[in-house]
């Protein structure tokens, strides 16, 4: 009888040992592969939050990725860097991706990691612009290479105006700030980060340009590099997914961390937070919006190419492997 009891204990011990070894094997295997270095182009705004958190919390390292960030003022710049091969992954708005598609650039979307409604129309109150309709005949500053131009157009349309009713002044964000502060333009379209640099602040009125239409912050890669880097894409998105969970579960910490990493004032983060929705996805609305924007670009003669099937510019397998429920694109 005592022998049987010993045998039972031995069997349980062996099972426990196997379980521990199995667990160790599972836990340790992820770090077995050599870390891969990748360059990621991010925008200096709140939408880069998931990338910043993934880096700060070591999610990239855990995924075997050695990530270096390249900071850009606009998604357009980041896109150019991606196409030029200066970065491996770039963050950009869907507007930039529509333009890339119309230009048949070798860029594909692997995910959207946030939605943003923070594009503002800022106007000098003392210039008499106390509502949107007062823009008629005004010089309005906007970076025409960005989605801000699209949102300005839609804002005007919703207020029975059009781009032809105003004088658009094209420029980089820095240039537009300078123009505004010099008094050469009385209205400008861009995000809160740049609005805060307009002077004097007490003489500014702002309106949300989106009109309840969210802008997508996309994660894009070069199309020709997908086939060779499918596993890398999964690991990258896995790290972003981990960051997303951190944001949801530790919101206050996430805010502080993003502010710290970007050198932002916490107040800025607080004001932008409600306008931002983090979360990896690839949904059908994105294609609808991209179609709308493509038609808009053609109407405005910005791009002359025929509108492509945008579904062809999506690589969904990476996100489907990481977060299958967030992929609702019909291909």
């Amino acid at each position: 009888m005592a022998l049987h009891f010993d045998a039972i204990i031995r069997i349980f011990s062996a099972a426990a040992l196997l379980a521990v070894l199995g667990a160790c094997n599972g836990a340790c295997s992820q770090n077995n592969s050599k870390a891969v270095s990748i360059r990621v182009g991010i925008l200096k705004d709140i939408t880069a939050g998931p990338e910043l958190i993934a880096a700060a919390q070591g999610y990239f390292t855990a995924a075997g990725l050695n990530v270096t960030f390249e900071h850009y003022e606009t998604g357009s710049q980041a896109s150019e860097a991606l196409i030029a091969g200066k970065v491996d992954i770039a963050g950009m708005a869907e507007f930039i991706m529509v333009r890339n598609a119309l230009r048949n650039e070798p860029v594909s979307i692997i995910a959207s990691d946030s939605k943003y409604e923070g594009v503002l129309l800022a106007a000098r109150k003392s210039s008499g612009i106390d509502n949107v309709t007062r823009l008629k005949g005004q010089r309005v500053g906007v970076n025409m290479a960005t989605e801000n131009y699209f949102y300005l157009s839609r804002l005007l349309e919703r207020n029975n105006l059009s781009l032809e009713d105003i004088t658009t002044v094209n420029g980089t964000h820095s240039q537009l700030i300078e123009l505004y502060n010099r008094g050469e333009i009385n209205a400008v379209v861009f995000t809160r980060l740049y609005v805060d640099q307009l002077m004097p602040q007490s003489d500014i009125l702002t309106w949300a340009a989106h009109g309840n239409q969210s802008g997508y912050r996309l994660v894009a890669v070069r199309s020709d590099r997908i086939a060779a880097n499918q596993e890398l894409i999964k690991r990258y998105l896995g790290a972003i997914y981990a960051a997303e969970n951190y944001i949801f579960n530790r919101q206050a910490d996430a805010k502080l961390l993003i502010a710290k990493e970007h050198g932002f004032d916490p107040g800025y983060i607080e004001s932008e937070w409600p306008l931002t929705r983090f979360g990896l996805s690839l949904d059908m609305a994105l294609i609808a919006i991209m179609n709308d924007q493509a038609h808009w670009m053609n109407e405005k003669s910005m791009e002359a190419a025929p509108i492509p099937d945008f579904a062809m510019f999506f690589y969904v397998d990476g996100l489907r492997a990481v977060k299958p429920e967030a992929v609702t694109i019909i291909r």
Partner: protein, 489 residues
């Protein structure tokens, strides 16, 4: 601890465990039901959100009031369902907040379109407006669909986790109870088996004759009590067995004395025969040569000497016959008692004819015995019946029956002789004991003693039933498989 107490405690613990287990199962079942409700809600929201996307397209194209009513009804249903969904994590709460926000924005866009449609009845001609409005509504409705799908997936994952937990809990409970039962059985059975093994040694030891074995008694359970009682029993048994042993020893001594006596009788009778034969021969010679030549007293004395010498010779012959009647063939052989009976009748034919004796018999069996001894025993019994006859001619009946219970044959020799007084029965089989005057019934008094010795040497018994004046019935038994006192002498 007593075994009964141990079982009570085990049962109590087992019952408590079952109650706890049932509680756990009920708890997880409630959780599973809650999650099922959540799944149902998220499915409904998802379906309504899809329908909103379709209805918004239809309204944008055709502006039917019924489409608007349906849209409003569906958004109201979504609001109701969203308020019923309970987030179990910040992630789920975020998705719910997003869905609510999407819905509010959708309604805002819808209101804006309503105003625009009211101001611009020919909206269907404004493709740019339709396209932009459609993409805006799609943006919100599809975002809502995506959020709800993720919420549904999260709830579904939770459902899977709960199912898994349920399975694990069931497995854990099963294992726990299994191990508990095994441990319980192990400890209780070990104690019981050990105790039984201890107790078992007692009967084994006693069975092999070791009455000094004492079952070790420690503890306070039922087995200890049993062991203690057993020890008391062996103690009592020991005193009884001592008496039995003494009796056995006395019997052995008696048998030894009997054997010595038989040997002595055999030797004495054998050794005395020759000088006695000489005395008898010379006294007969003396009688023959001097009878009538001496005086009357001398003739009388010589006659007495001859008579007593002959009698002594008969006594010695019978004594020798008696002493040898205990020696039988080894092993016993099959003997037909029919044959034995006929032989006896042949030997006694003169007496039978002279006395007018009528002998009848039933069928007599074949038995395992010494044929010569059986013949001698039956001859003595028949001779006795003829000798102690009444005035009537002797009628003798010999029969035999099977006694299945005692596994033996019971033979009987019944006569119509003078019978035996009850007071004389105890002396009937005693050697040289003559119950009647020798002058009337001559003999040495050895016949029945020899019968007794022969029958006992076969492992049987001999006894008599008699009524004075009416006759006697002598019974003797022979076992089916006689062991007997082999050559006991």
């Amino acid at each position: 601890m007593r075994v009964r107490t141990r079982y009570y405690i085990s049962t109590l613990i087992g019952t408590l465990m079952v109650i706890v287990a049932v509680g756990i199962v009920i708890y997880w079942n409630d959780q599973a039901m809650h999650v099922q409700e959540q799944l149902h809600l998220t499915e409904n929201i998802q379906q309504d959100a899809q329908e909103i996307a379709y209805l918004s397209n239809a309204y944008l194209l055709f502006q039917f009031p019924t489409q608007l009513e349906l849209l409003q009804s569906k958004t109201a249903a979504i609001s109701d369902n969203l308020s019923s969904v309970k987030a179990d994590s910040p992630y789920e709460q975020n998705l719910i907040d997003n869905a609510i926000s999407n819905q509010e924005k959708f309604l805002a866009i819808l209101a804006e379109i309503q105003s625009y449609v009211a101001a611009n009845p020919s909206v269907e001609n404004n493709l740019a407006y339709i396209r932009n409005s459609w993409s805006r509504m799609q943006g919100q409705s599809q975002a809502m669909v995506t959020d709800i799908i993720q919420l549904h997936f999260s709830v579904h994952r939770k459902s899977d986790e709960i199912r898994q937990i349920n399975n694990n809990v069931m497995l854990a409970l099963f294992l726990f109870f299994g191990i508990l039962i095994m441990i319980n059985a192990f400890f209780i059975n070990r104690r019981i088996l050990r105790s039984i093994a201890n107790l078992k040694k007692g009967p084994e030891a006693v069975g092999s004759g070791n009455l000094d074995y004492i079952i070790p008694v420690t503890g306070k359970d039922e087995f200890t009590e049993l062991g203690r009682e057993f020890n008391k029993m062996t103690e009592n048994l020991k005193s009884v067995t001592v008496s039995t042993a003494e009796l056995h020893a006395a019997n052995q001594k008696l048998a030894e004395a009997d054997r010595q006596l038989s040997m002595f009788a055999n030797a004495a009778s054998h050794d005395l025969r020759e000088p006695l034969r000489m005395v008898a021969s010379f006294s007969q010679l003396l009688e023959k040569k001097y009878k009538g030549k001496l005086d009357e007293d001398a003739d009388k004395y010589i006659n007495l000497i001859v008579g007593n010498a002959e009698r002594m010779q008969s006594l010695i012959d019978d004594l020798l016959a008696y002493s040898r009647s205990g020696f039988h063939v080894e092993p016993f052989e099959e003997v037909s008692m029919e044959t034995v009976f006929r032989e006896v009748c042949e030997r006694l034919k003169d007496e039978i004819a002279g006395t007018g004796t009528i002998i009848t018999h039933d069928f007599l069996p074949i038995i395992r015995a010494d044929a010569v001894l059986m013949l001698r025993a039956l001859q003595h019994l028949l001779d006795n019946s003829i000798k102690f006859r009444s005035k009537e001619p002797p009628r003798i009946h010999v029969s035999a029956r099977e006694d299945e219970r005692n596994l033996e044959w019971v033979f009987s020799v019944k006569d119509n002789g003078i019978g035996i007084e009850p007071k004389q029965l105890p002396h009937l089989f005693v050697l040289f004991k003559q119950l009647y005057p020798r002058e009337k019934y001559p003999g040495t008094g050895t016949g029945l003693a020899i019968v007794k010795k022969i029958i006992e040497s076969h492992g049987g018994r001999v006894y008599v039933e008699s009524e004075p004046g009416k006759g006697s019935t002598f019974f003797f038994t022979v076992p089916f498989k006689p062991g007997g006192k082999a050559n006991a002498g």
